[in-house]
């Protein structure tokens, strides 16, 4: 049973057999991210609750895995504190090329189960409130060795003024696993 478990997030480094352009002199390595999803995760009926950025998309994937672990712990803790521990959510990491830095970065999308009118209409609000996103402004989760920006929409997530408050690289020499919740110095917060 043990060795049958598949990682939810796996980073592979593949060199394709049978796919080498004639102009290339060495095999082309490709890094791919594999994410397993639960049986009842529906790619169509999904509700995006919030987004997080500043996940390194390195070949090893180790730092990203740690960060996902920390973020999951943070959400679990927040939901428990607010009596919402039964609320299910799913994290999907999307590799994204950043225009400003020209680097590949991971953006995490947090999805909730489908809204069932009359039953769980306030699902998104409950999750956002529990996670600390209580108004329209993004927040920074400070881990000391890095920071994660959390926002309700992609527009806020990509604002340059917020990017400047995030560290450019993740340092591995100091890991603190309890996120500190602060508001970024963005518009309306100065």
């Amino acid at each position: 049973m043990w060795n049958q478990i598949k990682r939810c997030f796996s980073s592979l480094h593949l060199t394709f057999a049978g796919l080498l352009l004639p102009s290339s002199t060495c095999p082309q390595g490709v890094s791919l991210l594999v994410q397993f999803m639960p049986l009842h995760w529906n790619p169509v009926c999904r509700i995006k609750a919030l987004l997080l950025r500043n996940f390194p998309f390195d070949d090893k994937g180790s730092l990203t895995r740690i960060l996902l672990h920390v973020i999951e712990g943070y959400f679990d803790s927040c939901l428990r504190k607010n009596g919402q521990e039964e609320l299910e959510y799913y994290l999907v990491l999307t590799p994204t090329l950043m225009e400003m830095t020209k680097t590949m970065e991971g953006i995490v999308n947090v999805y909730l189960p489908p809204i069932d009118p009359g039953v769980n209409t306030d699902l998104v609000q409950r999750f956002l409130h529990s996670a600390g996103l209580r108004d329209a402004h993004p927040v920074i989760l400070s881990l000391e060795w890095t920071s994660i920006l959390m926002a309700g929409n992609i527009g806020d997530l990509m604002k340059p003024e917020y990017l400047r408050q995030l560290p450019e690289t993740v340092s591995t020499d100091h890991h603190r696993t309890r996120p500190r919740h602060t508001a970024p110095r963005g518009p309306g917060r100065l």
Binding site: R7, A17, G18, P27, L33, V92
Partner: protein, 143 residues
């Protein structure tokens, strides 16, 4: 991310006549016609490395769930169908998975199949023929 563990159904025995390699070849022929001779050359064997999990957790703390689909990313927007199929094939071989070749889409490049589209890449949704047990956070997993 906590999920209810559903034990595999022992009565749901796999088809003894199913040949994954034959299914893959049939899918490849149907969806991605071969390139003209000389356009690509063979490189064997494939160099594949799977990164080990960094965290080592105890099994009682592991969250597990049944999965019958995986997301694969990033797929460059410039990819040709044969490259996408090779990505699926190599990934599945590396992780010992069985994609549901017979039911994979005939065209990965239409918008319906491009999940989480970005400026340079997108994500594809690959159904598996048989369920696997997945660990939610990558702790203590041995491949």
């Amino acid at each position: 991310m906590a999920e209810t563990i559903v034990p595999p159904d022992d009565n749901d025995s796999p088809d003894p006549n199913y040949d994954a390699e034959v299914a893959y070849r049939a899918y490849l022929r149907a969806v991605a016609p071969p390139f003209p001779l000389g356009q690509f050359q063979e490189v064997c064997p494939a160099e594949i490395s799977v990164r080990a999990a960094l965290l080592q957790g105890e099994s009682r703390h592991l969250k597990r769930f049944q999965s019958a689909v995986f997301l694969l990313s990033p797929i460059p927007n410039t990819s040709q169908p044969i490259q996408i199929i090779h990505s699926i094939y190599e990934t599945a071989k590396c992780l010992n998975l069985e994609p549901d070749w017979a039911n994979l889409p005939p065209n990965w490049l239409i918008s319906d199949q491009k999940h989480f589209p970005q400026a340079t890449n997108f994500t594809i949704f690959v159904p598996l023929r048989e369920e696997v047990l997945a660990g939610a956070d990558g702790d203590g997993i041995t491949l």
